[in-house]
């Protein structure tokens, strides 16, 4: 009985973790991409440099989402509270 409640709570927790972890980095990546497009429009000759920096910083923001995913995965597959 306790185990089933824990499993249900874990599934909900995993969903919330992934959902909210996607929220912030999504906004941040949107901002960064928008600014990069603005920069390219203003200065088309700097496109290569802007693209490289943008990709690197997007990957950094992506890693925040990944932290949420790691928490969700560990709650789903390697739950410390069950058994």
């Amino acid at each position: 009985m306790v185990d089933s409640i824990v499993s249900a709570a874990s599934v909900i927790a995993a969903a919330i973790a992934v959902g909210f972890a996607g929220l912030g980095p999504g906004i941040g990546q949107g901002n960064a991409a928008g600014q990069a497009v603005e920069g390219i429009a203003r200065q088309p000759e700097a496109e290569g440099k802007i693209r490289g920096t943008l990709l690197l910083s997007l990957a950094f923001m992506e890693s925040l989402t990944i932290y949420g995913l790691v928490v969700a995965l560990s709650v789903l597959f390697a739950n410390p509270f069950v058994g």
């Binding site: 990709l55 990957a59 890693s63 990944i66 932290y67 995913l69 790691v70 995965l73």
Partner: protein
């Protein structure tokens, strides 16, 4: 439908190689990572065995790789110190890149092993943890080597009450490196697997391309961060 799947979700099952009660290896990780190391060394030795003024295909390719890792190290550490730490950064970059690509490009499911499944070594958290701890050791020893005992002055900068934050940072750096690489590789494999189990044909291809791109980018980021951490302590 099972015949279509070249990989499947298996969590927590490994091919254990036992040495004693408490000491065991994850066999599939060791096998694939030694294979990656072997292939990489073969590639590098063959490419640089006889260097020519006018490079052939392989030497040309390796020169591009060298320019890339050199630019990573140079921009993070500056011209006077980068050459000492270039081998470390290059090794990290090539190993992570090789491991990530080996998981995506080779159909490991065709090779049966008793338990677990052959996959990219970086989707085992032990591999990424090892790489992250190596990076920690590298920047500690770099700081000691170049600054001596004055290295510890870094902990009370910019003000003495930053001491706890600076100490905690030493633990969060390897932790975040570790989870970033592990999470990205596992997320990529999970996405491909889930989409493969829904629609096995054509639809997963763009996701696989994205995965290839993302895993090469992760290798670049791991190397850049390792170089940046070293550069931070020796500047």
């Amino acid at each position: 439908m099972d015949t279509f799947l070249l990989s499947k979700i298996e969590v927590g099952s490994h091919l254990y190689i036992n040495f004693s009660e408490s000491l065991h290896l994850h066999g599939e990780t060791v096998i694939v990572s030694s294979l990656v190391v072997l292939v990489l060394s073969l590639f590098l030795v063959l490419g640089t065995r006889d260097l020519k003024k006018i490079p052939g295909t392989l030497q040309n390719f390796l020169e591009v790789v060298y320019e890339l890792v050199k630019s990573i190290a140079l921009t993070q550490m500056g011209p006077s110190y980068y050459s000492q730490f270039l081998p470390f950064v290059a090794t990290i970059f090539l190993f992570v890149l090789g491991s990530n690509l080996s998981g995506a490009l080779i159909p490991w499911k065709l090779i049966e092993i008793p338990s677990g499944e052959l996959a990219a070594p970086t989707n085992d958290i032990n591999t990424t943890a090892c790489l992250a701890i190596l990076t920690s050791i590298a920047y500690f020893s770099a700081g000691f080597k170049i600054k001596g005992i004055g290295y510890f002055a870094r902990y009370i900068k910019p003000a003495p009450f930053f001491l706890p934050i600076n100490i905690v940072e030493d633990f969060t750096k390897p932790l975040s490196l570790n989870f970033r690489l592990f999470g990205n590789v596992v997320a990529d494999e999970l996405t491909v697997t889930v989409i493969c189990s829904l629609v096995p044909l054509i639809i997963p291809l763009p996701i696989m391309m994205l995965g290839l791109f993302a895993s090469s980018l992760q290798a670049l980021i791991f190397a850049t961060l390792a170089a940046a951490y070293i550069g931070e302590v020796i500047e």
